[in-house]
């Protein structure tokens, strides 16, 4: 599987673009030792390197929070925009309309997306703005020192914040309700699944939501917390074993029939979902809804590709934009002629 595959020539340390992994690194992280966000950061670096993504094609977007700081810690060679708290969606929408050829990797937090940013989040999904939307979900506001966020479980206790009395918001359920075409949940402690999901997300044409439980080791990492490492390690239930296969590679392992679902991505690659216990169909919205509703009711921590639907048009498609980025249009294409103005004026006389 891909984890075995090294891109580029043989086992060399360069990828198809001739870039080393260090070319995908960012500045040194200033997050706490062991913060879940940092492990997601390294998976983003791995993924971009392994997929040989041209750094100049990427824009790194975020809101405000510890999680939203992460874009500074990967892909130094890509433009980055650390926007305002909860406003990554609108800014990214503008940026992707300006240049639809870019690959937007957005990193947000549960507070940034689930509290102040909930409205923009849902409307971004409605518009199906092409981007990878990563939620580094730790159930607290890390940067403001540990208040409960909207995804904290009801009844949860924290030394500083006390007991949380509110029902949690499920950002995957919200995504499905908003017709998002790629909805996944994962766990920062499950590096391989995170990486495979990232690869799939980066190959998806539309908004791809990854709600990744990413423990805050400083404020919310004790066993009882459903957002902690210990809890995640003990309770994570993958709904399938996911592998991303770039078209270019032949499939190395193959399984007995029926045990695997494959999802063909529109531009070549394939997602392979190996059945674990009961068979799950991520292309069925009804299945996805009931999975989440069950997980919520029984407090189960299900991870994997929950829902995929590649039919919806993206925002640039809806607006019938040319392939040439709007940002690359010439003055001639942008400013109508003197004649055109004369005609408009004549009609107003």
């Amino acid at each position: 599987m891909t984890t075995e595959v090294k891109p580029g020539a043989g086992n060399s340390k360069i990828n198809r673009l001739g870039l080393e992994k260090t070319d995908y690194k960012g500045r040194p992280s200033t997050l706490c030792q062991g913060c879940g966000h940092d492990s997601i950061t390294s998976q983003i670096i791995n993924t971009c390197w392994e997929l040989s993504i041209e750094p100049s094609r990427v824009i790194k977007m975020s809101g405000i929070g510890c999680s939203s700081k992460s874009p500074a810690y990967f892909l130094n060679r890509s433009h980055g925009f650390n926007t305002l708290h909860g406003r990554m969606p609108s800014v990214t929408t503008g940026a992707m309309m300006a240049n639809r050829e870019l690959l937007a990797i957005g990193v947000s937090g549960d507070g940034d997306t689930g509290s102040i940013g909930l409205g923009q989040y849902i409307h971004l999904l409605r518009r199906n703005v092409p981007m990878v939307y990563i939620i580094e979900n730790n159930g607290v506001y890390g940067l403001t020192k540990g208040q409960f966020s909207a995804t904290a479980d009801i009844g949860q206790k924290l030394k500083y914040a006390g007991t949380n009395e509110m029902e949690p918001i499920d950002l995957c359920l919200e995504a499905i309700a908003a017709d998002c075409g790629f909805v996944a949940r994962s766990f920062a402690g499950d590096a391989k699944q995170v990486r495979e999901l990232l690869k799939a997300a980066m190959s998806f044409n539309g908004t791809a939501v990854l709600d990744i439980i990413s423990p805050c080791v400083t404020f919310n990492n004790h066993e009882e917390s459903t957002k902690s490492y210990p809890y995640g390690k003990a309770h994570e239930e993958p709904i399938h074993d996911i592998s991303f296969i770039e078209a270019k590679e032949e499939i190395l392992v193959d399984y007995e029939p029926g045990s695997v679902r494959t999802v063909q991505m529109h531009d070549g690659p394939v997602i392979q979902l190996r059945k674990l216990h009961d068979d799950y169909d991520p292309t069925s919205k009804a299945a996805a809804l009931s999975l989440l509703e069950r997980a919520h009711a029984d407090k189960e921590f299900m991870t994997g590709l929950i829902y995929i639907d590649q039919k919806r048009q993206t925002l640039p498609e809806i607006h019938n934009l040319p392939r040439t980025p709007l940002s690359a249009l010439t003055a001639e294409q942008l400013r109508p002629s003197r004649e055109a103005l004369a005609k408009v004026m004549a009609d107003l006389a």
Binding site: E54, P55, S56, R57, I59, P71, A72, N76, R77, S78, H79, G80, F81, N82, T83, L84, R87, P89, S90, V91, T92, T93, G94, A95, M96, M97, A98, N99, E101, L102, G119, Q120, H123, R127, L315, P316, H319, N320, L321, P322, P325, L326, S327, A328, L329, A331, Q333, L334, R335, P336, R338, A340, L341, V344, M345, L348, A349
Partner: protein, 613 residues
């Protein structure tokens, strides 16, 4: 209008009434949603086509249908287009307000009304000439379908006025043809009622008033347009790429205009692809966010809104200012605070927008005062935004934006697009691959930027609203912070020298100066004539942008007293002028009004005359 308190003009008119030609005001009182706009525009356009200077102002409610609305049409041989408080001809088609409207009429005026409408006070106003019109009957005879009833009813007063004032039937037809963009069926239907009504007046209502119109040549080569359409066209000729907006009166029609024109003007003829996008956002926070995202990405992006939207854009404005991202925000000012009066004019956002954003922010604001400036600033705003790498506000208002104005046709942009300091991959190569996003290389306070997608390995930088050094690296160092603010200050000083300069009319020997901006210009122009007639000579400076410049300081210095004419309660521009010229702070006198109506020349001249007496 019953909504303005009109003091009777003392001197009663003499008995033998001399003709009054091309110099009076018609007020049409109807119920909104009854389609009177068509009728009123027909009157305006046909007078316009007769070569007579004319201007219309719609005083309408924040409501979709059923509430009183007044449309005042000023006919002025001298070319005055400001609102007048006096009314000579009332079309009393709204029974809710008819009596009050009548009461507000000055002596010797005229009143047209549907003959089934009971005017309580009719008999106590022998001074008024009344023309009752058989509206119901004519509508019935026209035999139109019920849905069009109201529209047709309005054509009755068009016909009556045509006959009574002597408007040319052909110009009326031409106006309707323009309105229905040539579709003969509706044109004929409406024309039918117009002529019937005219015929009825001719046969039954002998002319008894002195008001009439007469062909002139004062509109030759001119066009009629509203400021929002002008601004929309300006944006298109400015090469707008993304419009992100959220509907709000009175800015909506600006985006409507863009939507109307873009498909003809900016769809790629070969591919049929759209070289633009207009996105209706979920709110104003999202709209400005999209604008800044696109501006950062290298596209000319804009939004249009009004007061409440400006308030919601406060945080993003501060980020655009501090992270230095171009974007254009139109504020079609309506009456605030809060939701205020959504359909009434004001200039109440001037000070607020200049300082919009917490912390030390100062924003570029353009102040169009005419249709040509709405168009010009429409494209120029993008040049300034990209040159200065900052959000640029265009502060228009409801009067400019939503009313029809007579103007010279628009001039094609006099300058090529200025895309500002953007480094391509090649440029970077030439520079040896070194570049500091926020370094003041040229001493004008403006750094160089690269666009996402730039293939040069050193092109990337990190944009943020937090403290940063010249290389866009995160920094909390006091010296980095201070240096950055000082550079932003230098940039603001640069802006001061390149924003549109004021228009100055300096009168030799004038001790009194007037400073104004935006829609009140028309009233100021007329007021100065009134004052001159009264022996008071004034100089005039019309501001066209913030920050304020040196000419303005000089102008104030050259006069003993400077009246600041504006449409808000606190005299917001006066405050900005006092801060700009502390040495003259006490010379700046308020001449501001804030009641939701366009300013009148009378108000200004009285304000100044009183002070001078």
């Amino acid at each position: 209008m019953s909504m303005t308190i009109e003091k009777p003009t003392g001197q009663a008119e003499s008995q033998e009434r001399p003709e009054i030609v091309n110099d009076f005001t018609i007020v049409v009182a109807t119920v909104n949603g009854s389609g009177s706009q068509t009728a009123n525009n027909t009157i305006i356009r046909s007078l316009f086509k007769m070569g007579i200077p004319v201007n219309g102002k719609n005083i309408f409610p924040s409501n979709i249908s059923g509430l009183p609305t007044w449309f005042s049409i000023r006919v002025s041989k001298d070319g005055y287009i400001a609102r007048r408080e006096a009314t000579e001809i009332l079309v009393a088609f709204n029974l809710q307000t008819a009596d009050a409207d009548l009461a507000a009429l000055r002596e010797g005026s005229v009143c047209l009304y549907p003959n089934d409408l009971k005017l309580v006070d009719k008999d106590n106003r022998p001074d008024i000439t009344f023309y009752p019109l058989p509206v119901k009957q004519m509508v019935k005879e026209s035999g139109v379908d019920i849905k069009l009833k109201d529209y047709i009813a309005n054509m009755v007063y068009v016909g009556a006025l045509m006959e009574l004032l002597g408007m040319e039937e052909e110009t009326v037809r031409a106006a309707l043809t323009l309105h229905f963009s040539g579709k003969t069926k509706p044109v004929e239907l409406n024309m039918g009622v117009v002529t019937k009504s005219a015929q009825y007046v001719r046969d039954n209502l002998p002319k008894q008033d002195p008001f009439r119109v007469e062909r002139m040549d004062k509109t030759a080569g001119k066009i009629m347009i509203d400021g929002n359409s002008a601004g929309g066209l300006g944006a298109i000729w400015g090469g707008v790429g993304l419009v992100a907006w959220y509907p709000i009166t009175p800015s909506t029609s600006l985006v409507d205009a863009i939507n109307d024109y873009l498909p003809d003007l900016r769809v790629d003829p070969e591919t049929g692809k759209h070289n633009y996008a207009v996105i209706q956002a979920e709110d104003e926070l999202a709209a400005i966010g999209m604008v800044l995202g696109a501006g950062w990405g290298g596209v000319r992006a804009m939004t249009a809104t009004s007061g409440p939207g400006i308030s919601l854009m406060t945080e993003f404005t501060g980020m655009g200012y501090f992270a230095e991202i171009p974007g254009v925000i139109w504020d079609i000012m309506r009456m605030g605070p809060s939701t205020g009066l959504p359909t009434r004019v004001s200039q109440g956002d001037v000070l607020k927008t200049y300082y919009l954003g917490h912390g030390d922010t100062k924003n570029i604001c353009l102040l169009p005062g005419s249709m040509t400036e709405c168009f010009e600033f429409g494209w120029r705003a993008f040049d300034l935004a990209e040159r200065l790498q900052t959000p640029v506000f265009v502060l228009s208002d409801l009067d400019l934006g939503m009313n029809l104005w007579m103007t010279d046709p628009f001039e094609y942009p006099t300058e090529p697009m200025d895309r500002g300091k953007v480094l391509s991959a090649e440029d970077l190569k030439a520079l040896g691959g070194t570049f500091s996003r926020y370094k003041d290389t040229d001493g004008d306070g403006i750094g160089y930027r690269t666009l996402p997608g730039n293939k040069h390995p050193n092109a990337a930088y990190f944009t943020r609203g937090t403290g940063h050094n010249e290389d866009a690296g995160y920094s909390e160092r006091p010296d980095d912070w201070e240096n950055n603010l000082e550079r932003l200050h230098r940039k603001h000083e640069t802006a001061r020298t390149i924003v549109p300069r004021p228009v100055v009319d300096l009168r030799p020997g004038a001790k009194i100066g007037i400073i104004s901006y935006g829609s009140p210009d028309a009233a100021v122009v007329e007021a100065r004539d009134l004052l001159r007639a009264g022996g008071v000579e004034t100089s005039y400076l019309r501001l066209r942008a913030l920050p304020l410049g040196e000419e303005t300081r000089q102008f104030i210095g050259q006069h003993d007293e400077v009246f600041v004419v504006e449409l808000n309660f606190d005299g917001q521009m006066r405050q900005l002028l006092q801060l700009h010229t502390p040495e003259y702070a006490t010379r700046l006198l308020p001449a501001n009004k804030c009641d939701g109506l366009p300013l009148t020349a009378q108000f200004i001249s009285e304000k100044i005359a009183k002070k001078e007496r």
